[in-house]
Amino acid sequence: MKYIFPLAVVIALAVIAWIGSAILGLQDLFGIVVPYAALFLFVSGFCWRVLYWARSPVPFKIPTTCGQGYSMPWVKRDKLEAPVSTGEVLGRMFLEVFLFRSLWRNTKTSIKPGPVLSYKSTRWLWFFGILFHYSMLLVVLRHLRLFLEPVPFVISALDSLDGVSLHLTPELSMYVTDALILLGLLALLLRRFTLRPVRYISLANDYFPLFLLIGIVSSGITMRYFLRTGVDIVAIKQLALGLTTFKPVLPADIAPIFYVHLFLVSSLLAYFPFSKLMHMGGVFLSPTRNMANDSRMRRYVNPWNPDIKPHSYASYEDEFRADMIEQGIPVEKELPQG
């Protein structure tokens, strides 16, 4: 039942934007003030969060090693799972960030009759995760056509590539990533609903981003393919460009569905820095991933260690010799005569 509240919040956000723009005439609030505030919260919150993390020391060298580390020359080692140099760490980080490599290693534990304990690799999470993230990346990049003037060639090229195979008739002309992002999101949601262990650990703030993204995507798709009335893209681009050049203009008669879309996006931006979505920045700062497994080659010093000078027995005796002799403790060197 932990999904009821976040679902209700997303529906409420959509209803607020609809009523605000269609009935109360608050277009300038939802079209100008809220997007600016959301962008400000997103950028400043993101920086604050990363700088906050950067201020935490890492006391120990804690890379996760999932393969043979560097040892004897004849032992074949795993450069990506136990990297020892900066280059190898960069390779590992690249695969983590771009291919979600640690999800690829996901295993499912079960007990078969016998009883036999079995581990099977399952890659559904990896698959739908990749599907969702890359579709989202493409959708956001394609949106730049609404935000950049003139539209750079790469952006319009993406637009033509995305959906070229379905481009035979006007009825079928659609973006492939629209279907894929929705598929990815619904599968990720279904995973939280159906797998019992995952359902048990799912909290409201796991469901909220999923519902919010589903809301954004479905309002976008509705706007593009179904509720076209009042969705004049040239006017919307005017609004977007006005926002980016700090001379906001508010074209009249943009449909409420657009304000719903924009308000949900603004909510996402504002929520982002304070949520688990910060894994976007956090993945780069994970010590278990970004440290080299070289603790047997280079000494790692805990950055908060106090500066303790070595204190040999000889200097200890030098310091306390008089007291030691007075107490009758044997000393190696007598007090100087005189």
Binding site: F42, V43, F46, C47, V50, L51, A54, R55, S56, P57, V58, L144, R145, L146, F147, L148, E149, P150, V151, I155, S156, D159, S160, G163, H167, L168, T169, P170, E171, S173, M174, Y175, R228, T229, G230, V231, D232, I233, V234, K237, Q238, A240, L241, G242, T244, T245, K247, V249, D253, G281, F284, L285, P303
Partner: protein, 126 residues
């Protein structure tokens, strides 16, 4: 702060990417989009098609011209199939909207709309 030599540049790159539209548009001096010319009101006013239907408003056409074109196209194809002489119908949008550059491309280029159907595979570009 630890590793500031790596974290600060990384964060800076991120902020630059996120604010791309802001500095890009201000540097390119694009400022405002060129609003396409408002369609000549006099021309649209009271225009009715041969079948007695009124021409939809400009706002309606901007948002939903594809739906109109789809129906228009389907009707024309059906009519052509009925006709004995197979003479191409001459009634067309292009009789008034005589220029692709002016009526199609001015908006399509501004928003870089690439999902255009294959009208121009058969119809001549005016």
């Amino acid at each position: 702060m630890y590793d500031s030599g790596k974290i600060i540049p990384g964060l800076l790159i991120f902020v630059l990417l996120i604010t791309l539209p802001i500095w890009y548009n201000n540097l390119s001096n694009a400022g405002q989009v060129k609003t396409p010319e408002p369609p000549d009101k006099g021309m649209l006013m009271g225009f009715t098609f041969a079948n007695g239907q009124e021409h939809p408003s400009a706002a309606e056409m901007r948002a939903k011209h594809m739906e109109h074109l789809k129906i228009f196209h389907a009707n024309a194809v059906a009519k052509l199939a009925e006709q004995k002489d197979k003479k191409m119908p001459t009634m067309s949008c292009m009789m008034c909207h005589g220029s692709k550059e002016q009526f199609c491309d001015s908006c399509h280029a501004t928003i870089s709309e690439k999902k255009v159907p294959d009208c121009w595979e058969c119809h001549q570009k005016p």
